[in-house]
Symmetry: C2
Subunit: 515 residues, 2 copies
Amino acid sequence: MKGALSLVQTLVASGVDVCFTNPGTSEIHFVAALDAEPRMRAILGLFEGVVTGAADGYARMAGKPACTLLHLGPGLGNGLANLHNARRARVPLVNIVGEHATYHRALDAPLTSDIEAIASAVSGWMRTSKDAASVAADGAAAVAASYGPPGQVATLILPADTQWEEGGAPAAPVTRPAPVAPDPDRVVAVARALREAGSAGALLMNGAAVSEAGMTLAGRVAATTGARVFTDTFVTRAARGAGRVNGERLPYLGEEAMALLSGTRHLVTVGTKAPVSFFAYPGMPGELTPEGCHVLSLADPSDDGVGALEALVEALDAGSAVPVTEPEERPSLPTGPLRATYVARALAHMLPDNAIVVNEAATQGRPVPGLLAHSAPHDWLDLMGGAIGQGMPAATGAAVACPDRKVISLQADGSGMYTLQALWTQARESLDVTTVVFSNRRYAILEMEYQRVGAGDPSPTTKSLFDLSHPDLDWVGLARSMGVDGVRATTAEELVTGLRRGLEEGGPYLIEAVL
Amino acid sequence: MKGALSLVQTLVASGVDVCFTNPGTSEIHFVAALDAEPRMRAILGLFEGVVTGAADGYARMAGKPACTLLHLGPGLGNGLANLHNARRARVPLVNIVGEHATYHRALDAPLTSDIEAIASAVSGWMRTSKDAASVAADGAAAVAASYGPPGQVATLILPADTQWEEGGAPAAPVTRPAPVAPDPDRVVAVARALREAGSAGALLMNGAAVSEAGMTLAGRVAATTGARVFTDTFVTRAARGAGRVNGERLPYLGEEAMALLSGTRHLVTVGTKAPVSFFAYPGMPGELTPEGCHVLSLADPSDDGVGALEALVEALDAGSAVPVTEPEERPSLPTGPLRATYVARALAHMLPDNAIVVNEAATQGRPVPGLLAHSAPHDWLDLMGGAIGQGMPAATGAAVACPDRKVISLQADGSGMYTLQALWTQARESLDVTTVVFSNRRYAILEMEYQRVGAGDPSPTTKSLFDLSHPDLDWVGLARSMGVDGVRATTAEELVTGLRRGLEEGGPYLIEAVL
């Protein structure tokens, strides 16, 4: 059989049965192979940033990789920012990049570029297939590599002739590897430190550890030792809401994070590392661990965070401790002219059970996680790599992974403009995504950062670089023009009506909250 | 002074006074320096693909570089496809990428990535600044490097502390280098070959050689020797239209290009290289030069193509030869239900003098260059690197470079969706760009390539990957939602009315030609 078909069959047999793509001529034989293997679901994105961001969101919810199919170096470049985010999220992702036929590269045709150099910046594993006979094994190796641990972007570069030549044969399917057992020495050391530290002890969590199982275990540790439970500012997929241990998010601003951690003598990391500030600022520290605080790793990102917490609970004899969970406290519905906090209030009032909340709301979304902690149980997904334009694509991928769950996409307007094409894929695939655009019509975070870095007061010229008005963006118009219905809200009542429409009916819907 | 200000002052003194940007926190001090140096015009793009594509279009028309200002590795990634196109266009471009402060990199904060690896794929020159004292000299070196020859992307990576620290001082300004004199031996050899070959001789031109001066000289060579005059399929900036030597474009399809070149015994390249096919196809050759044809380079892309043609004309004593120019033959206006060819006809009927035509019309735009050859004189700009999503950004940059000229942006719908955010910048800057979207609602080129690579007939599933309907895109709605007015045309009459509105009034306007 052709190399392409052997690859597609191997991927499907390994559980990789969703392909987010925007293909080109050099990937046409892969596309043709889909005709012979209908178990692979191919989903078109109108821009590669949608494709790779969807693969990130999919992997977080499905717990397994999707594959991408990208068109040469430029297609990879277009998808690079969301591959960067996926790398930071440590999700498994099989990133397939078409390439010119092996013998065509030397001719330096217009689309020729150094794909490996570009891919190296985001890939934990990378291979360029040599021929049709080896491409299936390369695909299996890519799936295996994507699982890590920790999960990573595995990039398979696929010359056109390795797809179209005969001589391929499916490779043995790959399964997800078992988690690595926790290190007993670390468990003992952490148990001793937390027992000794009492309320001066703390857990800092991310990755699998912020699942419901992981947070419940952390809650038992806290109940037994007095330790505080923190999560990173941005979490891959956190089980949050009433009746659960939510932990406390480290604030984005370094000085606030340091104030919160102040007094901690033993900081135990689970699935993450010691906290650092997002950016450097003149005269401010980059490492946020308080002076004199001892950092212990219970589980590195590559370790089994939940297993390590189970061992810790056992070592502390905390199995019957009752964790402190969040009470349900839904706010009343807001009324009157719209304010940013009203989105949080309305959503916390109305949130259905078991929703997936994808957060790229930036500055205007700050009140949301605090209020949702006391609303319905939900999964919460953050942008992990700081590269904006991941939210709507990730919501798209999450909805593909979980067709029976409501996805709520909280989207800052400036970031949303990076990959607005995601709305079209939501419409085409009838995905159940309710998007709220926080339309404050500026890069508010840059206005804030301008002050924080000590640059003084911006001139009108400089201010215009942070400004998204002149002209205003019409998000409802953009969405409708891509097949997604929506409504503009300038009052709390319009917001509530729009949210209700989005949450009660299926399919995609968008609310532009004009702030 | 701060490093950032020393850099901005050096750029401006070197003639680099337009900065296309989407900045972030790590570039805030560069932004702040703009307040102290108002001669630098900063133009915001809502996505980095707009920023880098605009810098490409600007450089083609201004003949000098703009600078970009991009946010770390992800911002560079978002702009990478259009930097690839700029690399292939051999335009000068000063690509400035912000980076974490030098001492912050080791902390591996979320936005940290290997910027140099990514930039290496598109940059002919690259440097990471070390401190505030050296950053101005680095900027001057980047400007000098961007000129080549040939022109290239010069990437300056700018850690945040090199911007905010004191100790900077402006560096000596850089000027454009003089062109390299032609090689007399090549001129003699080419003159001899063309004299001998007669009508079996041919010139293949690109770069500066397809300017009005270069094409006129080529026309004299043709009139004297009988040689044919070809241009590459895609040209950087060609002076075309009635009264000019237009040459014959090599067709995109390899088999058609080979048929056209058949019988050529001496192929003389001027500012380009021997032709190769865009992609590889099973069983088809990649090199398109006819068997037995001798390829001679009169001027490499790094050489002075116009100067070499002047020397050739002198060697052939062809200075008084009268070149064959295109007669003016404007077609009548079309009527009735819209067809793809009607855009070419209506445009050829109405084209104003001295327009700039930016072509990313793909399959549906094929009739345009043939008809425009007999219409008003104009500059014609193609996508050079094959990475779609360059057209509307390049039109934006061309309009910034030439505020007194009408820019016509011919845009395929699938490609246009890659960087549609360019329309917002056109609105904000009131740029005089008339966009025609060829809305055939599919990736027609992929349907064609599917056949050509021998993959058989696509299934409905596969066909859906080439299909942009379900839902249809509403281009007028998209444009209006970003502040650009427009009209949908389903008849020739609507097209003509829309084109007239676009061409006769200033500012941006969009016509969706539904095909």
